[in-house]
Symmetry: C2
Subunit: 224 residues, 2 copies
Amino acid sequence: MRGIREAKKQATRQAIIEAAVRLFAEKGFEKTSIEQIARAAGIGKGTIYGYFRAKEEIFLAFCEDEIDYAFAALAEKNDPEAPVLEQLLTLFISQFRFVTRNQEFGRLLMREMALPRSTGRAQSRELNGRYVRGVGEILERARGRGELSGCFDPLTAIGHLYALHLLMLSSWYSGYLQNEAEVTAMLRVLLRQALAGIGAEAEPSRAERELLQQLQERTLAAEH
Amino acid sequence: MRGIREAKKQATRQAIIEAAVRLFAEKGFEKTSIEQIARAAGIGKGTIYGYFRAKEEIFLAFCEDEIDYAFAALAEKNDPEAPVLEQLLTLFISQFRFVTRNQEFGRLLMREMALPRSTGRAQSRELNGRYVRGVGEILERARGRGELSGCFDPLTAIGHLYALHLLMLSSWYSGYLQNEAEVTAMLRVLLRQALAGIGAEAEPSRAERELLQQLQERTLAAEH
DNA sequence: GATAAAATTCGACCACGTTCGACTTTTTAT
DNA sequence: ATAAAAAGTCGAACGTGGTCGAATTTTATC
């Protein structure tokens, strides 16, 4: 019976994650102690470190699961034949919602994903890679049906789009964009512009101009 | 004499920063304890918290000073009549060098700037704002001398460029870009494309294609 | 100059994340 | 079946960042 250990181990691991997530959601990440998690999971404090190297890792493990789920849900919701702009918007907004459902969770996750410490690089790249490939597929399909002019470089195109995704999250966390409506409007403009560079058409609009004006004041004003 | 306090206060503050920076550079941020900083600054542990609310804040105060200096140095080095692409590159690379001179410093700083906790928003916006305005000025000058077609929106243009700056740093910390040469080459391509969208011309190249190919493998490959 | 009020300093203290090594349970080898 | 090895468990102990209140120094008032 080689399996007794394996089975227990997975069960314990899951128990830790579940206890942790429940407590994190209740009281926040920083206000939840390792000891409380251990108690809630019915194990000793030190045992946790046999499963996770640090408190943060428990949280990231949970995020990985959540992201799996979110991507699956997205794939179901997304119409692979919709205009490329709409598909990208769906992807970005879904990421936005995930990240902002709990602000603290999202910040920790994004910090680890976008600016990982050297020990977290592999994890970061795995998560980023999934995202990047998601964007790539959308672009590839759009090219396949002629929506994008053929002469674009997939890597740099993805780069631009990924950059906008970072910009969106950063703007949200810095307070430049304050709600989903603003985020959506801003993304629409920026994505359209980026796609124009890639090889779709872009036109300005009216309500958007107003938002831009408003944001301009919020962003460019010097503080002193 | 109302000044005795003020003078001492500034001196102590500076002493803390200097001691902290020296120790951070010697042993790293996390390996340096508050008590060690206090000892090195010749004061008690608790006193530090009269000047800074958290360990991290000591470091950020130092960064602000450094950034002042870096921007001043940049303004001196930068040729305001050079092609817009070169000016942007100078700015981005200077940021890159600052941030990567000490990897750990840079990561902490960028995390605080790009994804601030709510208490750090003001600080984040102040630092970001400086950067954003720097980009804006470069664009404005370029437009003034006709290098950019007049019909671009300054805010979204800055958005795209700022996004690329985030992308660059994230790619470096995730290990996708591994040295300054790669960063420079990649930035050149992406900036040129972004500027084309804004209203300059862009053409591909040869050596760049090779790098892109190489990066594509590094970035898009699925891990399993 | 004396005294009250306010600001500042300090290290003992607290709670926490992480490490350690003694102990228990499971696996492997004979 | 049994012993040795390996893997896993545990809470005491350690070092840390941050708090607190008593003590000290500076400022304000007369």
